[in-house]
Symmetry: C2
Subunit: 345 residues, 2 copies
Amino acid sequence: MSVLESEIRQQPQVLTTLLDEEAENAHRIAGDLQGRQVKYVIIAARGTSDNAARYGQYLLGAYNRLPVGLATPSLFSIYHEPPRLDGALVIGISQSGQSPDIVAVLEEAQRQGVPTLALTNDPDSPLAKRADYVICLHAGQERAVAATKTYTAQLAALALLSCALGDDPKRLAALRRAPHAVGRVLEQGELVAGGVVRYRYMDTCAVLGRGYNYATAFEIALKLEELNYLIAESYSSADYMHGPIAVVGSGFPALVVAPSGVMFDPMREFSLELRSRGAELIIISDRQELLAEAVTPLPLPEGVPEWVSPIVAVVPGQLFALYLTLAKGNDPDQPLGLQKVTITR
Amino acid sequence: MSVLESEIRQQPQVLTTLLDEEAENAHRIAGDLQGRQVKYVIIAARGTSDNAARYGQYLLGAYNRLPVGLATPSLFSIYHEPPRLDGALVIGISQSGQSPDIVAVLEEAQRQGVPTLALTNDPDSPLAKRADYVICLHAGQERAVAATKTYTAQLAALALLSCALGDDPKRLAALRRAPHAVGRVLEQGELVAGGVVRYRYMDTCAVLGRGYNYATAFEIALKLEELNYLIAESYSSADYMHGPIAVVGSGFPALVVAPSGVMFDPMREFSLELRSRGAELIIISDRQELLAEAVTPLPLPEGVPEWVSPIVAVVPGQLFALYLTLAKGNDPDQPLGLQKVTITR
């Protein structure tokens, strides 16, 4: 088994450990933040971690009523023209905690005296050192270049924070069922592996989601690109309608993330629009009525609340990217031209 | 001449009219906003207008020290779980002013009593009606499906606002020279047309920029996609390094936007990294040393300040997309499968 596959399979255990070990810490952080007049949140992150940030935008927005913006790190690290941050909580997300541009955002936030929080797998990293608060990912060392277990751990860390800020034990209980749901997706590995061979010579595709699973679409596209040397464009279904949909013609592969929830009906309608334009649908969903429309259905377990679903819905995409790599005869642990820790300024 | 080409060529005139007609209005809006304790900005937009919003993030961040986040419209229009907006200025950008999801964001902002501003080509649109303040784009009717003159007008409107908020007549004077610089790019149309035929059978490419011209990369990619039924991926150069660069191999076409300014050196270094991986470089720049590295150089006039450069640097990209459409024998005024006004909820 490749390192990547073993790390994908560790996810239920990593999530369980994180939720056990960090729940109290998240509660303490939330308590502290009550006194600090947070009006909005800025998240600084790159790559996979930036996709976790996209989840945070919806989660903290909907449940904690906090507007969340993604940082523009170059204003801090290259232009040296940082905005004024009063009223902000600044969160840095990074597996390694090393990237200088992300560290620069937290550094400036500390200088301005606003609260800072790091979500990282390395509590001794430069990022953690610049943060008032740290939530550790407890993912163990991640050796595969393509991040998987640290991504779902970052989502769970954000979800823990959201539950703690809302002081809502019912939501926390629902979150604690996520590792089990991830385990159920992993049981379907063979099914995904069988469906993937069809895409051996695919060189472009689109990956689409909206709302909570906007993040999922971006993250699946990134895995496909990192591992398979193809172009996988990710869009919100709404942005896709505003232009990029022009490319969709007969046989164009479109992977749509559409679990149950408020966003299901709009995503179903959007999927049918894609199909009417000739797209070949690959659907990640727990709803049979939509899976039935797909050439390649990737089923999810039922009963996962929409706000938890991104932790679960990304996993069929991780498996899809992994098995596609194997179908091509490539090494998922050695993607060409990438390193585990990317340093950007 | 196609409608699209004539609208591209109207840009110097549109920009001049906008800067003349709206400078005083922007000044008045800025004065009003001083009293309203704006701590940060949220911009709601889709498609081309969302790319203008990306420019706003850097411009208002660097010069006005305002953190700017892009709205998550579905929280307002589909989830009905809008965040608390106190401390925010909420800006809606839309050529038509029609899209219900964007209108929903301003509607909620008004309900919460925070200041709202619309940038739109239609001062009688639903978006304008939901805004305390309106800056009209004065672009005349835009008939081509692919937006060009309203995009540069949106950038100029944001720049006017930034100058007014900073009460800086020197910056305003620099901005007033933008229409002339755009005119100089338009004079080079034949040069672009000649260079484009090489890309007749290109089906994928990447478009890359960072900082102020992050927006430019996104907008050029969108024009290529709307008009040419190809996949043009846009990324910040920093995000590209965190994974997607894996796809770059021999002959992969990479269009890099790199005008003079603070970001020039990092973008030059990044371009050389792409070339060392085998990429074919298409470079938009005013710097000969970098243009010389390109298979297809797209020169810009010199002397444009970096913060103004996005208004100018997008124009070679618009021409590139237009001439590629003609080289393919397609009709730039009738891109398949798109409508002028896209309604998303």
